[in-house]
């Protein structure tokens, strides 16, 4: 596994733990289809929460959350629709969140949860 994939994997684990800690139930992780991959799909028992996790090891290239741009947001929306179709879920409210994880060497890990980010 490449170093960047290991970092991403660690970030997703941290994010999943964070979300669980804050009362969300993780339904699916790293769900793939031909459109791409959803990092975390969870629910707060009233709506589906589709969560994009972005992990970085420094802010030299900007904050992790800044990397989620309009194109990425668009793809996640499409993926969420694909997930709902694949699981035969009828109409449900969907919220799109971003969890930014900053894992700087020698510093405490920082997790920031942007609810309803887009």
């Amino acid at each position: 596994m490449a170093a960047k994939d290991a970092l991403g994997r660690r970030g997703e684990d941290l994010a999943a733990a964070y979300l669980t800690e804050h009362g969300l139930v993780v339904l699916d992780r790293n769900w793939r289809c031909r459109l791409g991959e959803l990092d975390i799909v969870c629910t707060d028992s009233t709506r589906l929460v589709v969560c994009e996790v972005k992990t970085r090891s420094s802010t030299r290239f900007g904050l992790p959350a800044e990397a989620v741009d309009a194109r990425k947001a668009h793809r996640i929306r499409q993926l969420a629709g694909a997930w709902l179709a694949a699981h035969h879920v009828p109409w449900v409210e969907v919220r799109y969140d971003v969890v930014a994880v900053l894992v700087e060497p020698g510093a405490q890990v920082r997790v920031h949860h942007y609810e309803a980010a887009f």
């Binding site: 959350a65 800044e66 989620v68 980010a117 887009f118």
Partner: protein, 503 residues
Amino acid sequence: MGLARTWSVALHGVAGHLVEIESDVGGGLPGIHLVGLPDAALHEAKDRVKAAVVNSGWQWPNERIVLALSPAMLRKAGSGFDLALACAVLAADGILPQPALNGSVLLGELALDGRLRPIRGVLPCLLAARAAGVARVVVPAAGLAEASLVEGLEVYGAASLTDVLRWLVGEAELLRPGPRPTPVDDAAPADLADVVGQHDARRACEIAAAGGHHVLLVGPPGTGKTMLAQRFVGLLPRLEAAAALDLASIRSAAGRLPDAGVLTTVPPLIAPHHSTSMAALIGGGSGLARPGAVSLAHRGVLFLDEAPEWAPHLLDALRTPLEDGTVRLSRAEGTVEYPARFQLVLAANPCPCAPAHDRDCVCPSLLRRRYLGRLSGPLLDRVDLRARMLPITSLATVPEPWESTAQVRSRVIAARAAAAARWAGHGWATNAEVPGPVLRTRFALPAGVVRPLDSALRAGEITARGADRALRVAWTLADLAGRHRPDRELVETALFFRDRRAA
């Protein structure tokens, strides 16, 4: 998470509008959204402001930031909003208390390291803030001298964003303007006594100065046309406070106010070269037009030397401002109106070869006609006084010295005072500003007095506008002579100075 408000001023020509800047922080991915018709420079403020805040040692909120400039339909241009935007973001993030910002207008461009850079048009911005009832204004320290011209406002000068933030929380003081600079009388313009002879032209200049009329000087080279024109401005009275402030506002909008910010009461003399472009003469530029020479000469003199060398379209572009006293310039981003009540002084040679004595001219008659014909009829129609300069025949001149600026100026000021007293109830200061219909109705002269005008009109020697203009000159002549109203002789003198054959 929060909402905050700050205030700034959008400049539209020389008119400012108070702009409220609202900032909402939170509820989304990090990013800055600027709404409310910002132009390109203002869009770039997003990056400048963020860098300036971070480099000043404050935390930039890592959330969605919406900045709204209202009124949203007013176009906002330039970099002067940076300081207000930065403070709005920090207040919405809870770093600054909102009450500290209430009632203050913040002006200034931010450098990436948090220094406050000077902006164009501080003076008109402050005048707009005062008109909107704002109590306090923060300007870049470099603009403090200019800001001190405005009374009735608490003005503060800051060198950096940190200064402003510390001042807002009461930790530090900002610079205050020094005492209001006393209007300076720049070095007196050259004296009229230097001009040798030229009785007619001197007289024309005196009348023009007394009544606010436009004048054309025609004569061979070396007879003192340019000298006379340059001394013309010395005959004008000092500008009143309001006019001086108007002029300073125009200069400020053009970015031409001297750094010292001194409020000059000397009427401006603007003498552009004949290769000047239309934009530089009338005002122009992309986006929103900037003031040109006609506006910079507001309440002063616009001197066009070698008038026939000017491109005809430039001279004809002067016609509307000459008539209206303002220029309206329409560009993509809207129409601006700049004041342009100037006195036009034109100087011309009688022909291209222009020998010392006109009888030695070798120009074909057609060329001569074409040369002065470049001054179009409609333009000349607006020139009230024409004077022919005579060749100088002796350097020794007459024994007695020629009249000095001070002597002529005292007569001019007395005449202007008489005119101002007469028109005081109507809002005009000089005879040149009085509309023609008023002169023909409420201040109509007896039929016998205006008979020369009637016969000139009938003979086609003057136009109806020309007759109005001659009437105005006649009133000025009466003011200069200390009379109540013009008589027939003065009307004839006015017509003499209008005579097209002089040019």
